[in-house]
């Protein structure tokens, strides 16, 4: 199964394939293990964690939209301590690197959660400053470069683990936020989180989601994600975990070419639980057919003018 051509190093984490299961779409791994081994995945980012348990938003929480879906889960999770006690033992024994996704109500909380994860077997921390579904713990920190810098600094100080900051697309200038994270020592960036959206039931004349707004994901947002990754790739040196609407190998290759060093799949898993195998095989075939030595040669290869770091992570 292991193919050296598909191995990538992302922010100091060694991935056997460049495919990562996106936070919030894969639980803590066990649900999709029921289909069989997770051999095609390079890493898993767990469901978003907060310091204390959170019950999340009331239902309905999801609805389908054209080539996409809206969700307003609202970070339902058991809290970091219960996670470490009840979930981490199984999560850590899935046979691949597992990352924690964290959200705080305050800058200090981010640091506190990060510190608790130290030494737990977690391979890295994805810092969620971009959840559109909760007032705290997310988007307030992800739309202001100064606030994002403060969160990054707080996490950086409390952990030696790789720190990956997950960026929101709900901003005017994503590059300023990417640079703020890089400036405070982030090891990598995840992008993009969901786009804020809504849907209305014309029969009840009310918003479908109980939370009114939700995060839009799926193929509908892919062009936005690609554009933002392209822009950020040219402006920072740290590697990018690219995501937003990937559902096939061609999509994943586009993200790599735009500058992502690895790619995450989320909503696409709901469409096809076997998606990782198809994407891995597709990337492998593409590399062979096009004569590349490894997947890292694809990273940023669409930037023909030589802009961007072109380092492949």
């Amino acid at each position: 199964m292991n193919n050296p051509k598909l191995q990538v190093d992302f922010a100091g984490i060694s991935l056997r394939t460049p495919l990562v299961a996106a936070s919030g779409t894969f639980g803590f791994g066990r649900e999709y293990s029921r289909f069989g081994p997770l051999d095609d995945w390079g890493a898993i980012v767990g469901k978003g964690l907060t310091l204390r348990p959170s019950q999340g938003n009331p239902p309905p929480r999801v609805t389908e939209t054209p080539a996409g879906m809206l969700n307003s889960i609202g970070l339902q999770n058991p809290g970091v301590e219960a996670f470490l006690r009840d979930e981490m033992p199984d999560f850590a024994s899935l046979g691949l690197p597992v990352l924690a996704n964290i959200s705080g109500h305050t800058v200090e909380e981010y640091g506190e959660i990060a510190a608790k994860l130290e030494g737990s077997g977690i391979a890295g921390i994805e810092v969620n400053v971009s959840c559109p579904n909760v007032k705290a713990g997310g988007i307030v920190f992800g739309t202001d470069p100064k606030a994002l810098a403060a969160v990054t600094r707080a996490v950086r100080r409390r952990t030696g683990l790789p720190v990956i900051v997950k960026l929101s697309p709900n901003v005017t200038d994503v590059v300023a936020l990417a640079q703020a994270a890089e400036g405070e020592g982030a090891d990598g960036l995840s992008m993009i989180n969901t786009l804020l959206g809504m849907a209305i039931d014309i029969h009840t004349r009310r918003p479908i989601l109980a939370n009114t707004f939700g995060g839009l994901s799926g193929p509908a947002i892919k062009p936005v994600a690609l554009r933002m990754i392209w822009q950020v790739y040219r402006a920072v040196k740290i590697p990018i975990l690219g995501m937003g609407g990937i559902t096939c190998a061609a999509d994943a290759i586009e993200f790599l070419l735009a500058g992502a060093s690895a790619v995450a799949v989320g909503t696409g898993i709901f469409h096809n639980p076997g998606i990782a195998k198809e994407i891995r095989e597709g990337i492998q075939q593409y590399i062979v057919e096009k004569g590349f030595a490894s997947v890292t040669q694809l990273v940023g290869a669409a930037h023909q003018d030589g802009e961007g770091k072109g380092c492949g992570g």
């Binding site: 999801v62 054209p66 080539a67």
Partner: protein, 266 residues
């Protein structure tokens, strides 16, 4: 009621359509050849069907559809669905011999306590099919079906229930067949209390009313719920319902919940 266990395998397969026959207004009975799913299936579980081609990204999400009949010998399951939206309309156009991307079986299913000898079934509209799988799988128990629909045309599978020799008490909104009015009113009027368990599936208002009746009678109920779903495996937490134990996932903690544990006035 326990959740579906983590060690129970899920199978994603290209199931072959054996039949896709209209059996009522906009309502179809779909027979799928899917041996692995069938071998593992229990009544009250469902499958997740991709209505379009795998490469088509719209509609994006799978459709959860209850298992209506389980034919272990031939590796076939029957599903009954009504065309209510884009996905189910696409399913209605599928022909025999075509393949469908399906995974399952999902959910806890109906787990009957041994002492439940006499079981009353209450169905509302397209909620009836999973109760058929339940009755079919338990020939050792005594069942009576209370079946509500808008009108006579929407009553389906009556001949199948006759084959199982299960009495069917009918209620229709317009009185075109059986009792005129709600199935829960018919239940209150005729069911009495000489039964051990009530299993139900149907619209939320029906289940809410029925839960109230059972509570007054001091009877147990196992109700199958519906919800908007995304992943269908318990990962996304999109389909939760309010219960006395907090939010629970309809897909794998359910879809069957003890009536007394659900918070109905949400």
């Amino acid at each position: 009621m326990r959740a579906q266990q983590d060690h129970e395998r899920l199978y994603q397969t290209m199931a072959i359509i054996v039949a896709n026959i209209p059996i009522g207004p906009g309502t179809y009975r779909l027979t799928l050849l899917a041996p692995e799913i069938t071998a593992a299936a229990r009544p009250g579980q469902f499958v997740e069907i991709l209505p379009g081609a795998k490469a088509a990204m719209d509609p994006l999400l799978r459709r959860p559809i209850s298992i209506c009949a389980i034919d272990k010998e031939n590796g076939r399951i029957d599903l009954v669905y009504r065309e209510v939206g884009r996905g189910t309309r696409m399913l209605g156009e599928k022909q025999t011999g075509e393949k469908l991307d399906v995974f399952g079986p999902v959910g806890n299913g109906f787990v009957l306590p041994d002492e439940a000898r006499k079981i009353l079934l209450v169905a509302g509209g397209i909620g009836m099919p999973p109760l058929y799988a339940l009755a079919q799988s338990h020939p050792e128990r005594e069942f009576v079906l209370y079946y509500g629909a808008r009108n006579q045309q929407e009553l389906i599978m009556l001949e199948d229930w006759a084959l199982l020799k299960i009495p069917v008490k009918i209620a229709t909104d317009d009185g075109s067949s059986g009792f005129k009015g709600r199935v829960t009113d018919l239940f209150l009027k005729e069911a009495g209390t000489a039964y051990h368990l009530c299993c139900a599936c149907g619209p939320r208002p029906m289940l809410t009313a029925l839960a109230g009746i059972l509570q007054q009678q001091g009877k147990k109920g196992l109700f199958s719920l519906e919800a908007r779903m995304a992943c269908g495996v318990g990962a996304c937490l999109g389909c939760v319902c309010s219960t006395k134990h907090g939010y629970q996932r309809v897909c794998v903690d359910g879809p069957v919940f003890p009536a007394e544990e659900v918070i109905w006035d949400e």
